[in-house]
Amino acid sequence: MSTRLITVLLILLFSFDRAFAQNPDDIFRTDRLNALVFVVIFSVAILLYTRWAKQGKPLFLRKIAGLQAVEEAVGRATEMGRPVLYVPGIDELDQIETIAGVSILGRVAKITAQYDTPLMVPVRYPLVYAAAQEVVEQSYVEMGKADAFDRDAVRYVAGEQFAFTANVNGYMMRERPATNIYMGAFFAESLLLAETGNAAGSIQIAGTAKPEQLPFFIAACDYTLMGEELYAASAYLSHEPLMLGGLKGQDFIKIIIVILIVIGVILASFNVSDRFLGLFEAV
């Protein structure tokens, strides 16, 4: 309904402009036709895959190696009888990385519920707090351990970046969790967290999409999900059609991009690429 209304309005607007313009170039940016085609193909791909995912079509996602490590690491905490620390990043809930972090938390909470391993989730924003709380409780209920659910497992720690970090570091040194998992958006504190966890002797698994923080996680953690692996991991675990569909659609576009690049390279090598390269000119 609203879609139709808007479309009619837009058409009215164009015909109005069209009627008064001397030159069609004053209206349409014909030089941006390539971008229009790209946007349309992209949108169709994402929407189609999202629809298929919602309909429950089997969409294949490869296994992410780091996920195996998560299960093993939680298992280790159980054996040692020490807690698992899970940090879902330090950004707001409107960031995809945070959403991915919270959804992976759901899976981790199920394992800790199953083995009665203590879980600690420090968060930095009230909205993330609410979401994480809900996800953890849900996991405990699903595993039939509703009474084992600890209301203080998810904790609002501090709003300021370094105050948050200092607090979590203090926890690591005092409680010495067997396993630390960092999944979400991390900034300059990545190093402080991972380094302290390393000093405390915990097994550490990290995942973030921030390339400038990844080197520190890779150096100081036992396993790291890099970049889009984080999103793939959360789609893989949650099987949420939205995430899955988006990811598959992006994969489809990536293949097209690789094919186009290969064609472009071949044409360029034979020096006949001018018109083809022109198709990708951004103006």
């Binding site: 941006r32 390539n34 971008a35 790209f38 946007v39 992209f42 949108s43 969409l59 294949f60 996602l61 490869r62 296994k63 992410i64 409107d94 709003g159 300021e160 370094f162 105050a163 200092a166 203090g170 390339p211 400038e212 990844l214 080197p215 520190f216 890779i218 150096a219 890099m226 970049g227 889009e228 692996e229 793939a232 990811l247 598959k248 994969d251 990536k254 293949i255 991009i257 690789v258 186009l260 690049i261 290969v262 472009g264 390279v265 044409l267 360029a268 090598s269 020096n271 690429s273 083809f276 390269l277 990708f280 000119e281 951004a282």
Partner: protein, 209 residues
């Protein structure tokens, strides 16, 4: 006055550095004042640059009454503090998010993906010479293998797995560069603070003692 300024700056600089030794009340005090200042700063800035300059003055001064729309949407943001009407704040949020998304959907594909694709279509061989060809090969293989590493619809086995393996090596080189540069950046920031402490603060001793 200038002396006082330098000593105030030095006090808060050293207060925050003191955390390196261990957590202490002076650090905590500085940290809490810091949090308050940042929040207070935004009020002054927004009051002047947005509320006065962009909303009040044009509306009251120049009679641009259409600005009532964003004004009301802005006030709606505060509805979230009252549960019964908190849904109103979602309209304002949706407006900001929707407009921003409208810009991003197009500009990310047009202004980022297209040019990056275009400049990966490099000629291998030809008149560019040997060194340029080697570089072009590195770039083309690097881009494709990175894209393959982050492709999730196929297991990393066979040729595809081989390409992903090449991708991870490339990625590690790039992360090494990030690492080196990050070290450089953090050291520079420390240099900046020490420059202040040594040149300005210790320099001011001579005027006192």
């Amino acid at each position: 006055m200038e002396l006082l300024q330098i000593w105030v700056m030095a006090f808060f600089t050293l207060a925050l550095f003191s955390f390196l030794y261990k957590d202490n009340p002076v650090y905590k005090l500085a940290e809490h004042i810091f949090a308050g200042l940042t929040a207070g700063y935004q009020v002054g800035l927004i009051w002047d640059t947005i509320i006065l300059q962009k909303l009040w003055d044009p509306m009251i001064g120049a009679g641009q009454w259409q600005l009532l729309v964003p004004g009301v949407l802005g006030v709606f943001m505060f509805a979230r503090f009252w549960p019964r009407i908190s849904w109103l704040s979602r309209i304002s949020l949706a407006f900001v998010m929707g407009t921003t998304a409208g810009v991003f959907l197009v500009t990310e594909l047009h202004g980022r993906v297209l040019p990056q694709m275009q400049w990966t279509m490099l000629a291998l061989g030809g008149e560019n010479g040997f060194a340029a060809t080697i570089l072009a090969i590195i770039v083309v293989i690097g881009v494709i293998s990175t894209l393959i590493y982050f492709y999730f619809s196929k297991e990393h086995t066979g040729i595809f797995g081989g390409a992903a393996k090449v991708g991870i090596w490339f990625i590690m080189i790039s992360f090494g560069a990030h690492f080196g540069y990050t070290v450089m950046g953090r050291v520079s920031l420390l240099i900046g603070r020490v420059q202040f402490l040594v040149e300005d603060w210790i320099g001011s001793f001579s005027t006192i003692f």
